[in-house]
Symmetry: C2
Subunit: 393 residues, 2 copies
């Protein structure tokens, strides 16, 4: 049987194989990116579903439009405007089957084989997975603690006529936890407003801010309709329902609607009704406030433990929100070697090189703090520190 050429790029990654063992309960895993299930609004979702099936009934079980439920789109537009300074109408929002689908649709719409995608360095692994089906070349733009470096972006835009898409995660990035500064957002958008290149601004974590002020979305500076802003209920309600959204100008959204219709017709009608009813019945801000309290504490415990237990020469980020931090060991230490030994000692994480589309950076690692209890975080980091020490010079 002959497969398409793109299938050569789809292989089981060795990391996935390694991390399979981390499902064992004795392993303290900082490897996944799961939200804490004990915080899911199980009772609220049940009440919302009862209301939907009592009131909307069979309408909630029938085929529906590809764009999604209008009242839910209106709520998303209003909330996004209030939080991030955008000016979205309900018609600027469509519902998708998780942000992963938004990335896949973005690839479908914009990319031919050999096109260039500019991304942060490192960048989100799932975006690489979605986009690689369309055969692009990934060019990493230099990225520091304030975001993508504007001068390097300009250089790479100038020297490369084949740039078709830019992918960024400016808020509590997966994997590094970094949030772009307001100044960097402005200068990035000054450059983008001079071009006609689409930018996917992926924002799954922005609402999980533990302190400080939410900066404006890149979309709020968008003068030409270049920015496609993604959001999701996965981290603020629950991921299992696969309900997320795309915000963009209407003529561009129309393209997303065409390809979404060909990809899965529409996102679950019932899930959309259920979340819409939940938002009518409960205060989402209150719910998120409870998540933040728990996640902030776990982040604090992780950073305090890292201060205490990680050896000299290991640096790490102090994110103001989200689910992840990022550690950098001395040059020459391989995080895959560290992982092998850490797993022997019942601790896991994701080696950082997986997040660099062009490889390198073997001395880095991503650490998740949202889905482990404070006690286990402390114990796990203590163990990890000892393992790291055994690799020191």
């Amino acid at each position: 049987m002959k497969f398409s050429r793109r299938m050569e790029k789809f292989q089981v990654s060795d990391i996935q194989e390694i991390l399979k063992v981390t499902a064992r309960p004795e392993i303290i895993s900082f490897g996944g990116g799961l939200p804490a299930p004990e915080l899911f609004p199980v009772e609220g979702m049940k009440k919302a579903m009862e209301k939907v099936l009592d009131e909307a009934g069979s309408r909630a079980l029938q085929y529906s439009t590809t764009e999604g439920l209008l009242s839910l789109r209106a709520k998303i537009a209003e909330r996004t405007n209030r939080r991030t300074g955008t000016s979205l109408a309900p018609g600027n929002v469509i519902i998708v089957t998780g942000s992963q689908q938004a990335l896949d649709l973005g690839g479908k719409i914009f990319l031919d084989e050999g096109d260039v995608v500019l991304c942060e360095s490192p960048t989100y692994l799932g975006a690489l997975d979605a986009l690689k089906a369309y055969g692009p070349r990934f060019v990493e733009v230099r990225t520091d603690g304030e975001g993508m470096v504007t001068e390097d972006l300009e250089r790479k835009l100038g020297s490369n006529g084949k740039v078709k898409l830019i992918y960024v995660t400016p808020d509590f990035q997966n994997p590094t936890g970094v949030t772009w500064s307001e100044e960097r957002r402005r200068s990035f958008m000054e450059v983008i407003n001079e071009h006609d290149i689409p930018v996917i601004e992926d924002n799954p974590y922005g609402e999980l801010r533990f302190e400080g002020v939410t900066p404006p979305a890149l979309k709020s500076y968008d003068k030409k309709g270049n920015v496609i802003l993604l959001g999701t209920f996965s981290k603020i309600l629950c991921p299992g329902m696969r309900v997320a959204w795309i915000c963009a100008e209407e003529d561009l959204l129309e393209k997303f609607v065409y390809v979404k219709q060909a990809s899965d017709l529409h996102t679950s009608t019932l899930s959309q009704y259920q979340i819409d009813a939940f938002l009518d019945m409960y205060d989402l801000d209150d719910h998120i406030e409870r998540l933040i309290e728990v996640y902030r504490h776990r982040r604090d415990v992780m950073l305090t433990s890292m201060d205490e237990f990680l050896p000299e020469g290991v640096g790490f980020n102090r994110p103001e929100g989200g689910l992840f931090t990022w550690a950098v060991m001395p040059e020459g230490v391989s995080s895959r070697d560290v992982l092998t030994k850490a797993i022997e000692n019942h601790v896991a994480f994701v080696p950082g090189d997986a997040f660099y589309p062009n490889g390198g950076h073997e001395n880095t690692m991503r650490l998740n703090f949202s889905n482990t209890s404070p006690e286990r975080i402390t114990r796990g980091i203590q163990i990890l520190g000892k393992v790291m020490e055994s690799f020191a010079g």
Copy 2:
């Protein structure tokens, strides 16, 4: 902004524009393909959801595996084996976000630009929509009242080295309602068993059989693992939840899992749990029996009305199940002209040429009987007959 080359193929179809007016309540529409919402198991789905959220709780709202819920996959395997003579294990089944996603994933796995897809003539429009994103050329194989004509299949396989995929709907096809005879299935599979070409056997309607005996699935004759059998809960429970499945050999399914993971991670955990619980709590065969009674009656009313009201020279199919029949007017009559006049008289249908990837056959039409009351079916066909008469030579 520059789009991918494939976007040239994604345009609003004129038919979609025409059929938008059919949402008006005064229009008797035979145009859609909707199951009857009054038959959806609203109370059962509510009870199933309550059980899931009481018992599985947050597990039903968390991320889950790309393959899908094992107990649901086992039920699907058992049911498919019992109904269609296959020998599937749970590991031969994965859950997808509606059959439309299965078609999209099939295109992603098998098709490079310029590859040939063989299909029935006519064939399902939604499959053309999904596959066209991957740039194939569609070659129609001659199809009669018993299915794809084996001699023409052999000829087209022989003369065309670029055939990468075959797409068929052997049970109550959308659009024609035709079911392949057992003999034709055997001879088709004799040919396929000599090749290494994947066959997508799409079967969304097979369980809606009003009389006669269900023939074995093509998959049951599959000696080399070429056949990929698709099924869905859309027509036997409800379409709004977007839960369907793919059955194939495990090494081939692995490819589907890779691309599904990149496309939407997994299908809604909650929807999978909910349907799995529904199947534990209720008898699906009983439920389908009730659907069949209603749909059989509607089919009977439509065919009787067609006998009575359609003019001489208009032929049509007498399907033994499914949601559709198909009419052929005399050569030279354009179903688009008929549609324009029919809509003026408050009746709608889908012109048949849309189901031929290479055009032609303007004198054909698809008529849906599942989502219109018997009274309105009679009235609508009577009106359609009069409109057709006005076009008679």
